[in-house]
Protein backbone atom coordinates (compact mmCIF):
# COMPACT_ATOMS: atom_id res chain seq x y z
CA UNK A 1 0.00 0.00 0.00
CA UNK A 2 2.81 2.37 0.90
CA UNK A 3 4.55 1.49 -2.37
CA UNK A 4 1.42 2.42 -4.30
CA UNK A 5 1.25 5.73 -2.46
CA UNK A 6 4.91 6.45 -3.23
CA UNK A 7 4.29 5.67 -6.87
CA UNK A 8 1.34 8.04 -7.03
CA UNK A 9 3.43 10.79 -5.47
CA UNK A 10 6.19 10.30 -8.01
CA UNK A 11 3.69 10.32 -10.85
CA UNK A 12 2.18 13.53 -9.58
CA UNK A 13 5.59 15.16 -9.38
CA UNK A 14 6.52 14.09 -12.86
CA UNK A 15 3.37 15.36 -14.55
CA UNK A 16 4.36 19.07 -14.65
CA UNK A 17 7.60 18.14 -16.44
CA UNK A 18 5.58 16.79 -19.33
CA UNK A 19 3.51 19.99 -19.34
CA UNK A 20 6.55 22.20 -19.57
CA UNK A 21 7.99 20.34 -22.51
CA UNK A 22 4.70 20.62 -24.33
CA UNK A 23 4.78 24.39 -24.00
CA UNK A 24 8.26 24.86 -25.46
CA UNK A 25 8.50 27.63 -28.07
CA UNK A 26 10.56 27.95 -31.18
CA UNK A 27 11.36 31.41 -32.46
CA UNK A 28 13.99 32.75 -34.79
CA UNK A 29 16.65 33.03 -32.12
CA UNK A 30 15.04 31.22 -29.22
CA UNK A 31 14.81 27.50 -28.69
CA UNK A 32 12.81 26.58 -25.67
CA UNK A 33 14.38 28.29 -22.72
CA UNK A 34 17.76 28.66 -24.36
CA UNK A 35 18.89 31.75 -26.27
CA UNK A 36 21.63 31.64 -28.84
CA UNK A 37 23.72 34.76 -29.29
CA UNK A 38 24.71 35.10 -32.91
CA UNK A 39 28.26 36.44 -33.09
CA UNK A 40 28.74 39.84 -34.76
CA UNK A 41 31.87 41.18 -36.40
CA UNK A 42 31.17 44.82 -35.48
CA UNK A 43 28.84 47.23 -33.80
CA UNK A 44 30.41 50.26 -35.46
CA UNK A 45 28.45 52.97 -37.20
CA UNK A 46 28.75 52.24 -40.90
CA UNK A 47 28.28 54.78 -43.66
CA UNK A 48 25.94 53.78 -46.46
CA UNK A 49 26.02 55.90 -49.59
CA UNK A 50 23.82 55.45 -52.63
CA UNK A 51 25.55 55.63 -55.99
CA UNK A 52 23.20 56.90 -58.67
CA UNK A 53 22.85 56.27 -62.36
CA UNK A 54 20.21 58.37 -64.07
CA UNK A 55 18.20 58.81 -60.90
CA UNK A 56 18.35 55.18 -59.87
CA UNK A 57 20.45 53.48 -57.22
CA UNK A 58 22.83 51.27 -59.16
CA UNK A 59 25.08 50.44 -56.23
CA UNK A 60 25.78 51.32 -52.64
CA UNK A 61 29.07 51.91 -50.90
CA UNK A 62 29.38 50.78 -47.31
CA UNK A 63 32.22 52.44 -45.44
CA UNK A 64 33.74 52.41 -42.01
CA UNK A 65 34.02 48.62 -42.00
CA UNK A 66 36.47 47.50 -39.32
CA UNK A 67 39.09 44.84 -39.98
CA UNK A 68 37.13 42.41 -37.80
CA UNK A 69 34.69 42.11 -40.71
CA UNK A 70 37.48 41.65 -43.23
CA UNK A 71 36.96 38.80 -45.72
CA UNK A 72 33.26 38.56 -44.86
CA UNK A 73 30.62 38.52 -47.57
CA UNK A 74 28.46 41.61 -47.60
CA UNK A 75 24.88 41.11 -48.73
CA UNK A 76 22.88 44.25 -49.51
CA UNK A 77 19.25 44.81 -50.40
CA UNK A 78 17.78 48.20 -51.27
CA UNK A 79 14.03 48.68 -51.33
CA UNK A 80 12.15 51.83 -52.27
CA UNK A 81 8.70 50.40 -51.70
CA UNK A 82 8.19 49.17 -55.24
CA UNK A 83 11.55 47.89 -56.46
CA UNK A 84 14.11 45.76 -54.66
CA UNK A 85 17.72 45.55 -55.74
CA UNK A 86 20.18 43.10 -54.23
CA UNK A 87 23.82 42.20 -54.52
CA UNK A 88 26.81 40.78 -52.73
CA UNK A 89 30.45 41.68 -52.50
CA UNK A 90 33.51 40.50 -50.66
CA UNK A 91 34.86 42.73 -47.91
CA UNK A 92 38.59 43.44 -48.21
CA UNK A 93 40.70 41.62 -45.64
CA UNK A 94 41.53 44.83 -43.85
CA UNK A 95 37.98 46.20 -43.88
CA UNK A 96 37.46 49.74 -45.12
CA UNK A 97 34.84 50.32 -47.79
CA UNK A 98 33.10 48.08 -50.27
CA UNK A 99 30.75 48.82 -53.15
CA UNK A 100 27.89 46.44 -53.87
CA UNK A 101 26.31 46.54 -57.33
CA UNK A 102 22.58 45.94 -57.36
CA UNK A 103 20.86 43.60 -59.79
CA UNK A 104 17.91 45.94 -60.11
CA UNK A 105 18.32 49.68 -59.59
CA UNK A 106 15.51 51.20 -57.49
CA UNK A 107 14.63 54.80 -58.23
CA UNK A 108 15.52 57.39 -55.63
CA UNK A 109 12.45 58.26 -53.59
CA UNK A 110 11.90 60.13 -50.36
CA UNK A 111 12.82 57.06 -48.34
CA UNK A 112 14.67 53.86 -49.11
CA UNK A 113 15.58 51.02 -46.80
CA UNK A 114 18.87 49.24 -47.19
CA UNK A 115 19.50 45.96 -45.40
CA UNK A 116 23.10 44.91 -45.13
CA UNK A 117 24.38 41.71 -43.60
CA UNK A 118 27.96 40.63 -43.12
CA UNK A 119 28.17 36.85 -43.41
CA UNK A 120 31.31 35.70 -41.70
CA UNK A 121 34.24 36.01 -41.56
Amino acid sequence: MSLRLAGLVLLALSTPVVGWAASGTLNADTLGGARLNVPRCTSAGLTVIQNLTAGTISSITVGGIPSACGSATLQATVNNGTTTGSGTAAVPAGGGAVTVSLGLAPAVTTGELTDIVFVGP
Binding site: M1, L3, R4, A6, G7, L8, L10, L11, S14, T15, V17, V18, W20, A21, G24, D29, L31, G32, G33, A34, L36, V38, P39, R40, C41, T42, S43, A44, G45, L46, T47, V48, I49, Q50, L52, G55, G64, C69, A72, G81, V108, T109, T110, G111, E112, L113, T114, D115, I116, V117, F118, V119, G120, P121
Partner: protein, 238 residues
Amino acid sequence: MTGRRWGVAIVAITLLTALMASSGSAASLSLTSQTLTPYRTCTISATPATTTSVIDATVRQASPTSNFGSLTSLTVASASAANQRSYLKFGLEACSPAIPSTATVRLATLRLYMTAIPAACRTIDLFRVGSSWSESGITWNSQPFGTAINNPASGSRTGTFNVGTPSGCQNQAAGYVVGGTVTSDVAAFVAGTSTNFGWMARDDVEGSSTVRTTTLSSEELASVGQVPQLVVTYVTVP
Protein backbone atom coordinates in the same frame (compact mmCIF):
# COMPACT_ATOMS: atom_id res chain seq x y z
CA MET B 1 -3.65 -6.38 -10.06
CA THR B 2 -2.07 -6.46 -6.64
CA GLY B 3 -0.89 -3.40 -4.82
CA ARG B 4 2.73 -4.38 -5.41
CA ARG B 5 2.19 -4.63 -9.17
CA TRP B 6 0.44 -1.24 -9.22
CA GLY B 7 3.42 0.27 -7.50
CA VAL B 8 5.89 -1.27 -9.93
CA ALA B 9 3.82 -0.05 -12.86
CA ILE B 10 3.64 3.48 -11.52
CA VAL B 11 7.37 3.62 -10.85
CA ALA B 12 8.03 2.38 -14.37
CA ILE B 13 5.77 5.07 -15.85
CA THR B 14 7.51 7.70 -13.78
CA LEU B 15 10.96 6.64 -14.94
CA LEU B 16 9.79 6.59 -18.56
CA THR B 17 8.34 10.05 -18.23
CA ALA B 18 11.56 11.38 -16.73
CA LEU B 19 13.54 9.78 -19.55
CA MET B 20 11.33 11.43 -22.17
CA ALA B 21 11.67 14.77 -20.49
CA SER B 22 15.44 14.59 -20.24
CA SER B 23 15.85 13.44 -23.83
CA GLY B 24 14.20 16.69 -25.01
CA SER B 25 16.08 19.02 -22.73
CA ALA B 26 18.24 21.82 -24.09
CA ALA B 27 21.15 20.58 -22.04
CA SER B 28 21.80 17.93 -24.64
CA LEU B 29 21.43 20.34 -27.59
CA SER B 30 24.54 21.73 -29.20
CA LEU B 31 24.13 24.76 -31.48
CA THR B 32 26.75 26.74 -33.33
CA SER B 33 26.28 29.83 -35.48
CA GLN B 34 28.09 31.60 -38.23
CA THR B 35 28.92 35.24 -37.66
CA LEU B 36 26.04 37.36 -38.97
CA THR B 37 26.05 41.12 -38.61
CA PRO B 38 22.85 42.80 -39.80
CA TYR B 39 22.29 46.52 -40.20
CA ARG B 40 19.45 48.50 -41.66
CA THR B 41 19.78 51.94 -43.18
CA CYS B 42 17.05 54.41 -44.00
CA THR B 43 18.03 57.07 -46.48
CA ILE B 44 15.71 60.07 -46.56
CA SER B 45 16.17 62.24 -49.62
CA ALA B 46 14.64 65.63 -50.32
CA THR B 47 12.92 64.38 -53.44
CA PRO B 48 10.62 64.98 -55.19
CA ALA B 49 10.73 68.74 -54.75
CA THR B 50 7.12 68.66 -53.62
CA THR B 51 7.69 66.24 -50.78
CA THR B 52 6.55 67.42 -47.39
CA SER B 53 8.72 64.90 -45.56
CA VAL B 54 11.73 67.14 -46.04
CA ILE B 55 11.69 70.91 -45.67
CA ASP B 56 14.52 73.42 -45.88
CA ALA B 57 14.94 77.17 -45.96
CA THR B 58 17.52 79.89 -45.54
CA VAL B 59 17.07 82.92 -43.32
CA ARG B 60 18.95 86.13 -43.99
CA GLN B 61 19.83 88.78 -41.47
CA ALA B 62 19.85 91.46 -44.16
CA SER B 63 16.26 90.61 -45.13
CA PRO B 64 14.89 89.80 -41.69
CA THR B 65 11.21 89.56 -42.61
CA SER B 66 11.55 87.75 -45.93
CA ASN B 67 11.12 84.03 -46.48
CA PHE B 68 13.48 82.11 -48.79
CA GLY B 69 12.01 78.64 -48.48
CA SER B 70 11.37 78.30 -52.21
CA LEU B 71 14.94 78.90 -53.37
CA THR B 72 16.89 76.13 -55.05
CA SER B 73 19.86 76.66 -52.77
CA LEU B 74 20.63 76.90 -49.09
CA THR B 75 23.19 79.35 -47.82
CA VAL B 76 25.35 79.64 -44.75
CA ALA B 77 27.20 82.91 -44.53
CA SER B 78 29.22 84.90 -42.07
CA ALA B 79 29.20 88.62 -42.73
CA SER B 80 28.74 91.83 -40.86
CA ALA B 81 24.97 92.33 -40.42
CA ALA B 82 24.41 89.92 -43.30
CA ASN B 83 24.71 86.48 -41.77
CA GLN B 84 22.71 83.62 -43.28
CA ARG B 85 21.58 80.37 -41.73
CA SER B 86 19.89 77.28 -43.14
CA TYR B 87 17.19 75.18 -41.54
CA LEU B 88 16.46 71.57 -42.54
CA LYS B 89 14.05 68.96 -41.28
CA PHE B 90 13.75 65.32 -42.34
CA GLY B 91 10.60 63.47 -41.31
CA LEU B 92 11.48 60.01 -40.09
CA GLU B 93 8.04 58.86 -41.23
CA ALA B 94 9.59 58.60 -44.68
CA CYS B 95 11.18 55.37 -43.46
CA SER B 96 8.82 52.46 -44.13
CA PRO B 97 8.59 50.32 -42.14
CA ALA B 98 9.23 52.81 -39.38
CA ILE B 99 12.40 52.70 -37.36
CA PRO B 100 11.36 50.92 -34.14
CA SER B 101 11.52 53.08 -31.03
CA THR B 102 13.70 50.40 -29.46
CA ALA B 103 16.24 50.45 -32.28
CA THR B 104 19.83 51.42 -31.61
CA VAL B 105 20.97 54.14 -33.98
CA ARG B 106 24.57 53.43 -34.93
CA LEU B 107 25.11 56.43 -37.18
CA ALA B 108 23.08 59.30 -38.56
CA THR B 109 24.61 61.64 -41.08
CA LEU B 110 23.30 64.80 -42.67
CA ARG B 111 24.52 64.87 -46.27
CA LEU B 112 24.52 68.28 -47.92
CA TYR B 113 25.70 68.97 -51.44
CA MET B 114 28.03 71.95 -51.64
CA THR B 115 28.01 74.01 -54.83
CA ALA B 116 29.95 77.14 -53.81
CA ILE B 117 32.92 77.07 -51.49
CA PRO B 118 34.39 79.88 -49.39
CA ALA B 119 37.96 80.93 -50.04
CA ALA B 120 38.76 80.54 -46.36
CA CYS B 121 38.24 77.40 -44.33
CA ARG B 122 35.02 77.86 -42.35
CA THR B 123 33.48 75.66 -39.70
CA ILE B 124 29.76 75.04 -40.02
CA ASP B 125 27.89 73.97 -36.92
CA LEU B 126 24.65 71.98 -36.76
CA PHE B 127 22.21 72.66 -33.94
CA ARG B 128 19.11 70.65 -33.06
CA VAL B 129 16.06 72.89 -33.39
CA GLY B 130 13.77 73.01 -30.37
CA SER B 131 10.53 74.36 -31.80
CA SER B 132 8.47 74.17 -34.96
CA TRP B 133 8.99 76.21 -38.11
CA SER B 134 7.65 76.05 -41.64
CA GLU B 135 9.41 76.16 -44.97
CA SER B 136 7.16 78.89 -46.31
CA GLY B 137 7.03 80.96 -43.15
CA ILE B 138 10.41 81.05 -41.48
CA THR B 139 12.34 84.32 -41.56
CA TRP B 140 15.39 85.72 -39.80
CA ASN B 141 13.16 87.42 -37.28
CA SER B 142 10.92 84.40 -36.64
CA GLN B 143 13.56 81.67 -36.58
CA PRO B 144 13.51 79.34 -33.56
CA PHE B 145 16.99 80.34 -32.38
CA GLY B 146 16.30 84.06 -32.40
CA THR B 147 18.14 86.89 -34.07
CA ALA B 148 21.25 87.21 -31.92
CA ILE B 149 24.33 86.16 -33.86
CA ASN B 150 26.61 83.38 -32.67
CA ASN B 151 23.64 82.00 -30.82
CA PRO B 152 23.31 79.27 -29.68
CA ALA B 153 26.89 78.89 -28.51
CA SER B 154 29.12 76.65 -30.55
CA GLY B 155 29.50 74.33 -27.59
CA SER B 156 25.90 73.19 -27.89
CA ARG B 157 26.23 72.09 -31.49
CA THR B 158 25.33 68.54 -32.44
CA GLY B 159 27.57 68.15 -35.42
CA THR B 160 30.13 70.09 -37.36
CA PHE B 161 32.15 70.06 -40.54
CA ASN B 162 34.39 72.54 -42.26
CA VAL B 163 34.46 73.78 -45.82
CA GLY B 164 36.80 75.91 -47.87
CA THR B 165 39.30 75.79 -50.67
CA PRO B 166 42.50 76.01 -48.60
CA SER B 167 44.59 72.88 -48.24
CA GLY B 168 43.78 70.96 -45.10
CA CYS B 169 40.15 71.96 -45.07
CA GLN B 170 37.82 68.96 -44.70
CA ASN B 171 35.66 69.73 -47.76
CA GLN B 172 37.50 71.57 -50.52
CA ALA B 173 35.47 70.73 -53.61
CA ALA B 174 31.89 70.69 -54.78
CA GLY B 175 29.93 67.61 -53.82
CA TYR B 176 28.43 66.03 -50.75
CA VAL B 177 30.20 67.26 -47.68
CA VAL B 178 31.97 64.91 -45.32
CA GLY B 179 30.83 65.30 -41.76
CA GLY B 180 27.50 66.34 -40.39
CA THR B 181 27.07 63.53 -37.90
CA VAL B 182 23.84 63.87 -35.92
CA THR B 183 23.59 60.43 -34.36
CA SER B 184 22.59 61.48 -30.85
CA ASP B 185 19.78 63.70 -32.15
CA VAL B 186 18.27 61.03 -34.36
CA ALA B 187 18.55 58.48 -31.56
CA ALA B 188 16.50 60.83 -29.38
CA PHE B 189 13.92 61.31 -32.16
CA VAL B 190 13.60 57.56 -32.64
CA ALA B 191 13.31 56.86 -28.92
CA GLY B 192 10.72 59.59 -28.55
CA THR B 193 12.70 61.51 -25.97
CA SER B 194 12.99 64.55 -28.24
CA THR B 195 10.74 66.00 -30.91
CA ASN B 196 12.12 66.24 -34.41
CA PHE B 197 12.19 69.89 -35.53
CA GLY B 198 15.31 69.39 -37.61
CA TRP B 199 18.58 71.28 -37.56
CA MET B 200 19.96 74.74 -38.11
CA ALA B 201 23.31 75.20 -39.83
CA ARG B 202 25.30 78.35 -39.17
CA ASP B 203 28.87 79.55 -39.48
CA ASP B 204 30.80 78.87 -36.30
CA VAL B 205 31.80 82.52 -36.12
CA GLU B 206 29.13 84.82 -37.47
CA GLY B 207 29.78 88.48 -38.20
CA SER B 208 32.94 88.12 -40.27
CA SER B 209 34.25 91.40 -41.67
CA THR B 210 34.88 89.55 -44.94
CA VAL B 211 31.85 87.81 -46.39
CA ARG B 212 32.27 84.01 -46.22
CA THR B 213 29.55 82.10 -48.00
CA THR B 214 28.85 78.40 -48.44
CA THR B 215 26.12 77.43 -50.88
CA LEU B 216 24.32 74.09 -50.74
CA SER B 217 21.67 72.52 -52.93
CA SER B 218 18.14 72.59 -51.56
CA GLU B 219 15.11 70.37 -51.97
CA GLU B 220 13.68 72.76 -54.57
CA LEU B 221 16.59 72.16 -56.94
CA ALA B 222 14.86 68.87 -57.83
CA SER B 223 18.14 67.20 -58.75
CA VAL B 224 18.26 63.75 -57.15
CA GLY B 225 22.03 63.72 -57.33
CA GLN B 226 22.33 66.80 -55.15
CA VAL B 227 19.43 66.79 -52.76
CA PRO B 228 19.91 66.99 -48.99
CA GLN B 229 19.84 63.58 -47.35
CA LEU B 230 19.63 62.10 -43.89
CA VAL B 231 21.16 58.64 -43.66
CA VAL B 232 20.29 56.65 -40.55
CA THR B 233 21.97 53.31 -39.86
CA TYR B 234 20.53 51.26 -37.03
CA VAL B 235 20.12 47.81 -35.58
CA THR B 236 17.04 46.33 -33.98
CA VAL B 237 18.94 43.79 -31.87
CA PRO B 238 22.11 45.31 -30.40
